[in-house]
């Protein structure tokens, strides 16, 4: 047996330098300091993404896109398929938790200035992954083809369509026509299960390679405190990661069982929009701001102004490492910390306001 294992190890060594990988893993360390807790959120996001992929594939076995089949297939899944309800509930809840974990991860990276040189590519790929996560949420929301999803998508695509110059093209691209219809459902399905996963995989691969290559960043100030404290990645950090994943799995199971994701009423394009149509919670702050904006701001339509404002902010956010010169030099800069805190407060305030004003 032992000989056989050694044989296999040798076979792998010849091909993938297994001993080299094991040696790398053995010597890989993670900085240990009072902000180390934030390192785990990347892993939690990855774990939730894996759950998304697995539960999504299981849902795909039964889901049939189409105006006449989407809702019915989900209903069949939830009522007739063994543990189908659990799969859908887990997929929906883990999607929401993934957005939350990714947001926490992104803002913790921002506030610890982990984006500074040489980790600009990691930051850019991470932010793009976060935007893709939101796009996953938006496209997946429509797939059950229920009333709430239908009208939320209508509102969402209307907003996207108000972008100057390209709005008409964007709305046509998203909807596949003038109205939200079966064509929109087909497109969103294509985006959700093919296009976005493909892009996500590439970006995630790049992100993880960069993390492995450059290791974890130590916050400014901590690296100056003499010799750095570290912990081995294997097994210490990895087992702690697994521990947190199990806790998240427990939370997910409780949410999925105690708060099963409702299917609602099938979408009807001719029915009046139900009262209180709101987007998913992670888009609520944008929706609330757009609602509160005056009809005209300067020479622009209020909604157009809002869309341009968020579009610009999201674009600038990608390039933050290149603007924050102080952190690039390894110096503490209060301006960008203040900007980050303002963004967090802004998002929290308008999200809460959106809930209150529902």
């Amino acid at each position: 047996m032992n000989t056989r294992m050694q044989g296999m190890r040798g076979w792998l060594n010849d091909r993938i330098d297994l001993d080299g990988i094991v040696a790398f893993a053995k010597h890989k360390t993670v900085p240990s300091h009072r902000h180390s807790i934030w390192y785990y959120f990347g892993g939690v996001t990855l774990f939730l993404f894996i759950i998304q992929v697995v539960s999504g594939i299981l849902l795909l076995f039964y889901y049939r896109p189409g105006e006449d089949t989407a809702f019915e297939s989900i209903r069949f899944l939830m009522t007739k398929v063994q543990f189908g309800w659990l799969m859908r509930s887990i997929h929906s809840w883990s999607a929401n938790l993934m957005v939350l974990a990714a947001a926490v991860h992104m803002f913790s990276v921002y506030l610890t200035k982990a984006y500074r040189r040489p980790r600009e590519i990691t930051w850019v790929s991470g932010v793009l992954l976060f935007y893709l996560t939101l796009a996953f949420g938006f496209s997946g929301y429509l797939l059950p083809w229920n009333e709430l999803a239908y009208f939320a998508t209508k509102v969402g695509t209307d907003i996207a369509g108000s972008v100057p110059f390209v709005g008409g093209f964007v709305i046509e691209l998203l909807r596949g026509g003038e109205q939200v219809s079966g064509a929109t459902l087909s497109r969103f399905f294509g985006f959700h299960v093919a296009l976005f996963p493909a892009i996500f995989t590439v970006l995630l691969g790049l992100h993880l390679i960069m993390v492995q290559k450059q290791g974890m960043s130590t916050p400014i100030g901590h690296e100056e405190e003499g010799e750095q404290r570290t912990m081995p990645f294997f097994p210490n950090f990895f087992l702690r990661d697994v521990l947190l994943w199990l806790i998240v799995l427990n939370i997910l199971a409780v949410l999925a069982v105690f708060f099963p994701w409702e299917l609602g009423v099938k979408a009807d394009a001719f029915a009046p929009a139900p009262a209180g149509i709101v987007p998913e919670w992670y888009f609520l702050f944008m929706f609330q701001v757009l609602k509160l904006l005056p009809a005209h701001v300067l020479f622009l339509d209020g909604e157009v102004f809002g869309v341009l404002l968020f579009g610009s902010a999201m674009t600038l956010w990608i390039f933050i490492p290149f603007f924050d010169r102080k952190s690039q030099r390894g110096q503490r800069g209060r301006l960008f910390t203040a900007i980050g805190l303002c963004v967090i407060i802004f998002i929290l305030f308008f999200t809460i306001l959106g809930w209150v004003m529902l």
Binding site: W85, R229, T230, N250
Partner: protein, 499 residues
């Protein structure tokens, strides 16, 4: 000179023959035209207008006080000659639309007839002429106008039917104005109780104007029409629920009150459902008559077709005919038809089944009724329980739309059973109820499964959570052990790497 003598004699004669006008006015026109044996003048002297003090000039213009024809009929004095077209009705309306002027004649009746007529069907069907289709004189006559109660009046109760039918029974005439309107009203009316009584000289019985009104005649489709479905109960009830008016008739006067309390009356009058029957839907309109014993199921069957079909094929149809019992009415009543509840299919005293069926006298029917009732009770109870259990499962967040959808078939069976009962055959009744009962039972089982599934999920979660929590604890202990060991190793090696 001779003329003067004759005129004087005539005036004296008239003074004895006719009562003096309310406001006697000199009418030289009449004096001459009477001498000319003008039928119009003769008729005028017998009409109400002459007695009210009107002169020829009141309608024709001119100066009735002048015995000089040139002066009396001078356009300068306002002479208009024979009014034509709408000028006729305008002339009538000058007084009859003016309550104050009518009061001056001592008249206390209704006014505004011309205004009403202008809003009626007789105005609107006039076509492009923009003139009234009917002028006042077409019905009331021109010169010898009498009170409507006067038997000599063409609009008197005994003559008005002939008057209306002079146009309405003429297909070629009616085709010009309203081709879709039937022209058999008079023929039907003569077959009705009203028509027969009218022919016998009973002036109290309903005629055209009693239902359609005299001047405000509107199509039945208009909501303000007196013969609109929603207004018909009131229209009929004006006579039929007035004990004083109906004195001498053997008819009861409770029909309207009973109808109001009935399932039909509530649908029609409270919920304003125009598909619900009004008086005329059962009794006919122009041919109004009470349906006789043998034809009741046909009348009710106009709407309740399936029930009537099943009843006609049932043994009850022949038995009821033999016993002289009115078909539907025997169980459901007539004007006061109440919603058909389970109590109708019962064997308690007072229930319609129990009137004929008892365990000793008609055991077969008694047992069939009892079994039908038990089946229906089972179906309703199972459906109700399934619905309750589904509500409970839904409250727990379970997806039960499919089960609820299938339960619709059971509810449909419950509905169909209400029709099937009219076959009065246990076998046919079971054909409807048994499948519904099976569906309801399946739905109940599925609803119970959904409720059980809820608890199964929670128990499953408890087990899974316990297992994961245990793994977490073990893992945490394992990490602690590893890190202690690493610390010990570092301490011995003097390694500065801190775990």
């Amino acid at each position: 000179m001779r003329t003067t003598t004759i005129r004087t004699l005539l005036v004296l004669a008239c003074a004895f023959l006719i009562p003096p006008p309310a406001a006697a006015q000199q009418d030289e026109c009449l004096t001459c035209h009477e001498m000319m044996d003008d039928a119009a003048a003769t008729a005028f002297t017998k009409g109400v207008h002459r007695r009210a003090g009107l002169t020829c000039a009141s309608c024709h213009g001119g100066d009735a006080t002048s015995d000089d024809m040139e002066v009396g009929m001078s356009p300068a004095r306002g002479f208009k000659g024979v009014p034509s077209g709408q000028d006729i009705s305008t002339a009538c309306g000058k007084c009859h639309d003016d309550a104050e002027r009518m009061a001056n004649f001592g008249y206390e009746g209704p006014t505004g007839q011309l205004t009403t007529l202008l809003g009626s069907a007789h105005s609107r069907h006039a076509g492009e002429s923009k003139q009234l289709l009917l002028q006042c004189t077409d019905c009331h006559g021109a010169h010898g106008i009498r009170h409507a109660e006067d038997p000599a009046s063409p609009v008197s109760p005994l003559r008005v039917v002939e008057l209306c039918s002079s146009c309405h029974s003429d297909p070629s005439y009616m085709r010009r104005y309203n081709p879709s309107l039937p022209t058999d009203q008079l023929a039907k009316y003569r077959t009705s109780v009203h028509g027969a009584q009218n022919l016998r000289g009973n002036s109290k019985t309903a005629t055209c104007a009693d239902c359609h009104t005299a001047h405000d005649i509107r199509p039945a489709t208009e909501s303000t029409s007196s013969v609109n479905a929603l207004n018909i109960p009131e229209t009929c009830g004006r006579c039929h629920s007035d004990p004083e008016y109906m004195r001498g008739s053997d008819l009861p006067t409770t029909q309207l009150a009973e109808f109001r309390s009935s399932v039909h009356g509530k649908a029609l009058l409270d919920r304003r459902e125009l598909s619900a029957p009004s008086c005329n839907d059962c009794h006919g309109n122009h041919g109004a008559a009470p349906p006789n014993v043998a034809s009741i199921s046909n009348v009710c069957g106009t709407c309740h077709a399936l029930n009537a079909d099943l009843f006609q094929q049932s043994r009850h149809a022949t038995e009821f005919a033999r016993m002289g019992k009115p078909e539907c009415e025997t169980c459901h009543g007539n004007h006061a038809v109440q919603p058909a509840t389970l109590e109708l299919l019962a064997l308690d005293s007072g229930s319609p089944c129990a009137d004929c069926h008892s365990e000793s006298t008609a055991p077969q029917g008694y047992r069939a009724a009892m079994q039908m009732r038990m089946l229906l009770d089972s179906l309703m109870e199972t459906v109700a329980t399934a619905e309750k259990r589904l509500d409970a499962a839904e409250q727990k967040g379970m997806e039960i739309d499919n089960i609820r959808f299938s339960l619709r078939d059971a509810r449909q069976a419950r509905l169909q059973s209400r029709t099937a009962v009219h076959a009065f055959s246990l076998e046919k009744f079971r054909e409807v109820v048994d499948p519904g009962l099976a569906i309801a039972r399946q739905a109940l089982v599925a609803a119970e499964d959904a409720n059980d599934e809820y608890y199964y999920r929670r128990h499953g979660l408890a087990v899974a959570t316990l297992f994961i929590t245990l793994t977490i604890v073990l893992l945490a202990l394992h990490i602690r052990r590893i890190e202690r060991r690493q610390k010990k190793e570092r301490d011995t090696q003097g390694d500065h790497t801190v775990s």
